[in-house]
């Protein structure tokens, strides 16, 4: 389609065209994503290869102290008079060896099997039973991950130590003196200030985010479930079996069927919840911001006041109101003067899904109104003025100015909301708890989304391995969708558009 043809379309046709274009572009975008990923992987391995090459080269060129640094940390620095650094390097090696000898290796050597000896019972004086702890797969996995991470860090220090030794060797050959301790410390407030600032946060992220994450990911490859509960029984590696059971679509295979069905509903839910909030919120914001509306701040306050009640309280109240003897049914009974008993959440899947989506508007729209009002007030008035002078009506100004501007600003927000809705545990769990129940799914109800299913798997049936696998797949879905949408959005491609 040429530019001229495009300009002749009416707004609806344009929207249809753009939508079509977006979906046609998805395969291309996916392909693009994977080529980029491939390139990054190649780059990574080339980098590693280069690292090894340097490792060998330095050894050949190094003097005796540098060569000895390959075995004993810090020798190179010490021999060149950089005492404090050499001692620090050496301390790292000693600490690491002590750690491995007294703690780490004991767990790491059981990492391939995750333990052999389960706990057993002994009898004190032949009558009082006492459980003698055996291996504990969970602790083995946890401390092995810790040890592996520490090993990686120590390896990085090891490489730094070699590089440093070689650097000092060259400095000495050039007749330079190594810098003093005082000078180096000053550098941390000057040239290396970023290290001073960032080291603590990075350390904390490592301990509280990265470590548990690796641990959880590894769980997905084990058979940690109700039959394998440490310390009573041990669990072990089973490779991709958990993922296999999720994609097992053979007739009668419930886990696979449940996964596919729940993924379907999760996506429908995420799209419906995101756009219902977005569109309705925008309409409310437009109404409030319209010129000539009186008591603007009053309306704004009224609409936003639901935020004052914590979300989970509203949801639990709604849940109670929608029970078969709840307020809604009683109200309907009184209005119609007959006995009304509609099972809003407990019987019909379609009805329950509609109810969940509609109730979600109640808790979601106020936030949209808030952010939208702010954006609306920011649209430059002169744009509207010139549009009016050119003879544009209200519909035209909306489709040509307001909507593009809003979409431009809020696309990233839309994406976060979409991802947030995929993982919207609160609304589903507190409002419907996955009900209505069904015999077709494995440990899930009709309105369960993937995260609430994950929760039920861990809490009700202790399928930790399976739940971890679902967690990983949810992440993959979220990450792929957000990357594709964001990379195709105007906010990304044309950052300067409205500035």
């Amino acid at each position: 389609m040429t530019y001229v043809e495009y300009k002749q379309l009416n707004p609806f046709q344009r929207f249809a065209y753009n939508t079509k274009k977006f979906f046609c572009n998805i395969p291309h975008a996916v392909a693009h994503f994977f080529t980029a990923l491939g390139k990054a992987i190649v780059k990574f391995f080339v980098g590693i290869g280069k690292g090894f090459a340097n490792y060998g080269k330095t050894f050949v060129k190094g003097d005796w102290a540098t060569k000895l640094s390959y075995l004993i940390f810090g020798v190179g620095d010490l021999s060149k008079g950089k005492y404090y650094k050499g001692i620090l390097f050496f301390a790292v090696e000693v600490l690491y060896i002590l750690y491995m000898a007294f703690f780490g290796w004991g767990y790491l050597k059981m990492f391939p099997t995750l333990g052999i000896q389960a706990q057993r019972t002994e009898y004190i004086n032949g009558i009082i039973p006492k459980q003698v702890p055996g291996d504990n797969s969970m602790l083995i996995l946890l401390y092995s991950v810790l040890t592996l991470v520490i090993t990686v860090v120590v390896f990085a220090i090891y490489i730094t130590n070699i590089k440093d030794a070689y650097r000092h060797q060259i400095m000495k050959a050039n007749g330079q003196k190594p810098t003093s301790f005082k000078y180096d410390m000053k550098q941390f407030l000057d040239g290396k200030y970023h290290i001073t600032l960032m080291s603590f946060p990075v350390l904390m992220i490592g301990i509280f985010n990265v470590l548990p994450l690796i641990f959880m990911i590894l769980i997905a490859f084990t058979n940690y479930d109700k039959q394998h509960m440490p310390p009573g029984t041990l669990f072990t590696w089973i490779g991709f079996d958990n993922f296999g059971s999720l994609f097992n679509l053979v007739e009668g295979a419930k886990k696979g069927y449940t996964f596919i069905k729940l993924t379907e509903w999760t996506l429908i839910w995420a799209v419906a919840a995101t756009f219902s909030n977005y569109i309705l919120g925008m309409i409310f914001a437009l109404m409030i911001n319209k010129k000539g509306i009186k008591f603007k701040s009053l309306w704004r306050t009224l609409f936003v006041i639901t935020i004052a009640v914590p979300q989970f309280v509203s949801l639990l109240l709604m849940n109670q109101m929608l029970q078969s003897n709840g307020a809604v049914n009683i109200l309907l009974s009184n209005i119609t003067n007959s006995h009304v008993e509609i099972q809003w959440l407990n019987q019909d899947a379609t009805l329950a899904r509609w109810v969940v989506i509609i109730i979600n508007c109640w808790v979601g729209i106020p936030y949209t109104i808030l952010s939208m009002s702010g954006i609306l007030m920011n649209i430059p008035e002169d744009l509207y003025e010139s549009a009016r002078i050119d003879g544009a009506g209200p519909v035209k100004t909306f489709t040509a100015i307001t909507l593009p501007y809003m979409l431009f600003v809020t696309t990233p927000q839309l994406i976060t909301q979409f991802v947030g809705n995929i993982n919207n545990f609160n609304v589903i769990y507190l409002l419907s708890n996955g009900n209505p129940t069904t015999e077709k799914y494995y440990q899930a109800g009709e309105t369960d989304i993937l995260v609430t299913w994950l929760f039920k798997l861990t809490m009700n049936s202790q399928d930790y391995g399976l739940a971890a696998a679902i967690g990983i797949l949810v992440f993959v879905i979220c990450a792929t969708l957000s990357l594709i949408v964001y990379n195709n959005s105007k906010s990304m491609k044309d950052e300067e558009a409205f500035s």
């Binding site: 009558i127 006492k130 078969s324 003897n325 015999e439």
Partner: protein, 445 residues
């Protein structure tokens, strides 16, 4: 000179590193000094009722090792258990107790919390019988030390249900963990209370509700049990639910009868949380309900003299009256396997589950005892509720060895039977539902 210094330092480093390695070999040997089984002589030490011989404590409770224990008890029982713990301390004057704390912990979540982290959980805790296999699977519960004394003192059923693979794992505490028919005597007569049709009819005529939580697997399994689909422990793998052999046609007919009856009395039959029964009695909206022993007090309070309790009614299936079969369980006191004071924990559990403590709980809390002597006590034989529960216990499946996957499919079965969309005349659909439910419980597929 500098070079020499560097070499010296390097030498020292290597030495330290080697020493480090050497230490590792020594520590990697696991401490498996097993304690000798020299029980033959101590095994004869005396056990009288709930008090055992002082020698069972071993080295626990001495000056060098004073006892610190944590006890989990349900909210309602905390103050009573505290008194009982004080009495326990007095019963063993030679032992030193630093602290025995009693913490409120609902029995419903006892197993879950034990599994979360057994090392910080209570040493002695009470739990309902259905959690037993979960606790045993995870190896967090210790077996009973005074097996013979416990077996002798308590009801046979409670001991049997606490035994898994031939090992007794917990001290029986109550045998009242079940539900029964509770009704307003001014609405439902004692005679009408015998049949489900009678109860529903009486409620309908009075314009009141009959409440049963059919959306909860614990109550909904009544449908399946009455239909003959009863549970029968677990398969050999230890997690798959086993069912007794049943006549499928008969089962389907019974389920259809339930569905038809519920459809006929739509509006009267209400599936609501059991909390609505007591409030319904109080507000006069509820005529009868199926409720558990834990709500007895509030129901009695709401109804006063009109309080009626009976075993579950019968249902008419093609002309024959079938007794409703319920889920019935016991409560136990268990000992944490990783307790730091295993002997004291066992002795305390034995004491708390003993005759005196059971009698106190029966008198003060209205709990039905597991102890044979207490069962003959006036406090039990004179209570209509405990009598109703006792009768219902004869028509019940024992809540032990219930798979984790049992409850949700049963809840679904209940939901589907009471649904507006349920067609009682459609035998094929009912059969499919039953088969799907059972395959879900057994986690097939």
């Amino acid at each position: 000179m500098k070079k020499i210094l560097a070499i010296l330092l390097a030498g020292m480093m290597t030495a330290t590193a080697l020493v480090g390695c050497g230490g590792g070999d020594a520590s990697s040997k696991t401490d498996n000094g097993s304690k000798a089984d020299n029980g033959s002589s101590d095994g004869a030490a005396k056990i009288e009722g709930s008090i055992v011989d002082d020698s069972y404590f071993g080295d626990e409770g001495t000056d060098s090792k004073p006892v610190t224990l944590k006890v989990w008890a349900p909210d309602a029982a905390v103050s009573l258990v505290k008194e009982q713990v004080e009495a326990f301390k007095k019963a063993y004057p030679n032992r030193k107790f630093k602290e025995i704390s009693v913490v409120a912990q609902g029995e419903k979540d006892a197993a879950t919390n034990m599994l979360n982290d057994a090392t910080t959980a209570a040493d002695v805790f009470s739990f309902p019988s259905d959690q037993l296999n979960k606790l045993v699977d995870a190896g967090v519960i210790s077996q009973v030390a005074f097996k013979d004394a416990v077996t002798e003192a308590n009801d046979e059923g409670t001991v049997k249900a606490g035994t898994l693979n031939g090992t007794l794992y917990a001290y029986p505490e109550t045998n009242d963990n079940g539900y029964y028919l509770v009704y307003d005597k001014s609405v439902v007569s004692d005679e009408q209370a015998q049949t489900l049709e009678g109860v529903l009819d009486a409620c309908k005529k009075a314009g009141k509700k009959f409440i049963m939580n059919a959306g909860d697997g614990y109550y909904a399994c009544t449908f399946a049990f009455t239909a003959g689909v009863k549970i029968d422990g677990l398969e050999k793998d230890g997690i798959t639910q086993k069912f007794v052999k049943y006549d499928e046609d008969e089962a389907v007919k019974t389920l259809q009868a339930f569905a038809k009856l519920i459809k006929d009395y739509r509006g009267t039959f209400q599936s609501l949380d059991v909390a609505n029964i007591a409030s319904g009695f109080a507000s006069g909206k509820c005529g009868a309900g199926i409720d558990g022993s834990w709500d007895t007090a509030s129901n009695q309070k709401a109804l006063g003299d009109n309080f009626g309790a009976a075993k579950l009614p019968t249902i008419n299936v093609n002309g024959t009256d079938k007794q409703l079969i319920s889920m019935f369980g016991y409560k136990y006191i268990g000992v944490n396997g990783s307790s730091k004071f295993p002997a004291t924990a066992q002795i305390l559990a034995h004491y708390l589950a003993g005759e005196e403590c059971q009698l106190q709980r029966t008198e003060k809390l209205g709990w039905g005892p597991a102890n044979k002597k207490v069962q003959e006590n006036k406090a039990v034989t004179g209570s209509p509720v405990l009598k109703a529960i006792g009768e219902q216990a004869k028509n019940a499946c024992i809540q032990v060895n219930v798979a984790n996957t049992f409850w949700d499919p049963m809840a679904n079965l209940g939901n589907k039977i009471i649904a507006d969309t349920c067609d009682p005349s459609d035998a094929a659909a009912m059969k499919k539902l039953l088969n799907e439910t059972i395959s879900n419980v057994r986690d097939e597929g």
